[in-house]
């Protein structure tokens, strides 16, 4: 583990009297696969939203590769290499899978042309290669809204990957996915992340997934980080077991 990609310092966020983040500081190191767990309503998604710029902290700062990104718009932060995958897949539903991918690729570079087509040979090949990586190649010409939920989630993640980000933020990647598909999704995701050396932070409820895939876990509770460390240590911690996992 080397230099931190993302540094958050002393973040304070309040929503109608509730402290979603109470003086939170954390580092995300390059190459990490960091999981954030915690009881419902504890503000885990707020952490994600702080990193993407959707939420502006009342005080505190967020640094990406040493540069301050606090207060920038999601669009600006995305352009600096942070990509987000959503809990409810955000896709262009009527477009085909490959069209969704190509649009994402074009958004990364090549949007500002009115003369060259979206579906150029090079771009289409790249899109299909990426779909191959994630296992959606066969579905490439289907309208994205016709895909089963698990595949829609994968596509949502693939679209984020098309941006070639440094940091990928995932909001409950396995929610809404059947237990059976859960692991194939995670395997596909992990392999893609490793291949492209992408750092990731994911909010997750499924402890099995966390135990198996995360190399560091952040336990979020009532706006603060209650504990953090390797999954093995975390899942032995009694406070965690009581407050988060629900085992007395």
């Amino acid at each position: 583990m080397s230099a931190p990609i993302l540094q958050a310092r002393d973040l304070h966020v309040e929503f109608s009297g509730v402290r979603a983040a109470d003086g939170v500081s954390l580092d995300i190191n390059e190459g990490e696969f960091l999981a954030v767990i915690g009881p419902n309503g504890s503000g885990k998604t707020t952490l994600l939203n702080l990193c993407t710029g959707y939420v502006r902290p009342r005080s505190g700062s967020v640094l990406l590769d040493g540069h301050a990104i606090t207060g920038l718009t999601p669009r600006a932060i995305t352009r600096r290499g942070v990509a987000r995958a959503f809990q409810i897949p955000q896709l262009f539903s009527d477009q085909s899978v490959v069209d969704n991918m190509m649009l994402a690729l074009a958004a990364k570079d090549g949007l500002w042309t009115m003369v060259r087509p979206l579906g150029s040979r090079a771009r289409r090949d790249e899109a299909i290669a990426l779909l191959d990586l994630i296992g959606l190649r066969d579905d490439r010409n289907r309208a994205s809204r016709t895909l089963p939920e698990g595949h829609r989630k994968l596509l949502d993640i693939a679209v984020a990957l098309a941006l070639k980000p440094r940091l990928l933020l995932l909001d409950e990647p396995t929610s809404g996915v059947s237990t059976l598909e859960r692991f194939s999704l995670m395997e596909a995701l992990m392999s893609a992340l490793r291949q492209r050396s992408i750092t990731a932070l994911f909010v997750e409820h499924d402890m099995d997934v966390v135990a198996r895939y995360a190399n560091r876990v952040l336990v979020w509770n009532a706006g603060t980080i209650m504990a953090q460390g390797h999954p093995n240590e975390i899942f032995k911690d009694e406070r965690v077991l009581k407050n988060v996992v629900g085992v007395a």
Partner: protein, 308 residues
């Protein structure tokens, strides 16, 4: 391949038509002009934005022709280019404010701005000639002085050529990343923002383009009619464009021109029987929306999914 053939045949028929029925030339020229303007509206429709005031750019360009011609510029090509540029500039100014809005606000603001332009054209008698309007003299073409009928011929064939050329370019635009981003705005604007795409800029480009297309139409109309009046900007004129654009929404670039052709011919025939053209347009618009299948460019799909 078949489509290109049908398309080529269509254009051929268009070119030949006035030789068979000379009275058609004027109608067809006007139809092409309105087709351009409707195409502009159709482009915005892709992004789910309905402009019910686009006739303002049609009028701005037409008045531009009258102004520039009145101040000494007499070349057809230059007049055309200048007036379209003026329409584009107006589009940039108006659009910069308007593309922040969506759906009903966007539509109503377009209507409001267009009515302001109409009021200005109608009231500023000293500058615009008020409700009498301004004359448009016959321009020189490539330095040649033409008789009016000869010029009208040139105008017609020029319009057809322009229609093919510009239509092709617009088709390329709609197929480009920028064009696809336009439909993406309607489908999932949030996702676009999270792809790093500046939605406002994408929409502004589309708006300026649509204003320039309306401008081409306005200029052609100005030359064809020989006079520009404030009614060019009146909201009912925008309404006619919307109806044609809805047809274009189904048929893409050719759809806008075919729709315009159809409507203009219908208008000419209907004028013999009734004055209630707005009523026909309004009723047709409602009928089209109510009874056409859902595949109207996803126009009817519920958009705006919230992410967090």
């Amino acid at each position: 391949m078949i489509r290109t053939l049908i398309f080529a045949l269509g254009v051929l028929a268009l070119v030949v038509a006035p030789t068979v029925a000379p009275w058609l030339e004027f109608v067809l020229t006007i139809a092409i002009a309105k087709g351009f303007a409707a195409l502009g509206v159709a482009i915005l429709l892709r992004a789910g934005l309905i402009s019910i005031g686009h006739a303002m750019f049609f009028a701005i360009s037409a008045y531009g022709v009258a102004f520039f011609a009145g101040s000494g510029i007499s070349d057809f090509g230059i007049l055309l280019v200048l007036s379209v540029v003026v329409a584009g500039l107006a589009g940039a100014v108006v659009g910069a404010f308007l593309v922040r809005y969506r759906a009903i606000f966007f539509a109503m603001l377009n209507l409001a701005v267009s009515m302001v332009f109409y009021a200005l054209f109608a009231k500023l008698y000293g500058i615009t000639g008020g409700t009498d309007g301004m004359p448009v003299p016959v321009p020189h073409v490539f330095g040649l002085v033409l008789s009016e009928p000869a010029f009208k011929n040139v105008l017609f064939y020029g319009s057809v050529a322009l229609m093919v050329l510009v239509g092709f370019l617009v088709h390329r635009y709609l197929d480009s990343p920028l064009g696809h981003a336009l439909s993406a705005v309607h489908a999932n604007e949030v996702r676009l923002e999270y792809l790093g795409v500046p939605v406002w800029a994408v929409l502004l480009v589309a708006y300026v383009l649509s204003a320039m297309l309306a401008g081409i139409g306005g200029a052609i109309s100005a030359f064809a009619i020989g006079r520009v009046v404030p009614d060019f900007a009146f909201w009912t004129a925008s309404g006619h464009l919307v109806l044609v654009a809805v047809f274009g929404g189904i048929g893409g670039v050719p759809g806008a021109f075919i729709g315009a052709l159809f409507l203009e011919l219908l208008h000419t025939k209907a004028a013999a029987y009734t004055d209630a053209w707005n009523l026909i347009v309004g009723a047709t618009l409602i009928a089209v929306i109510m009874f056409l299948p859902k595949g109207l460019y996803g126009l009817f799909s519920r958009s705006g999914v919230s992410a967090q």
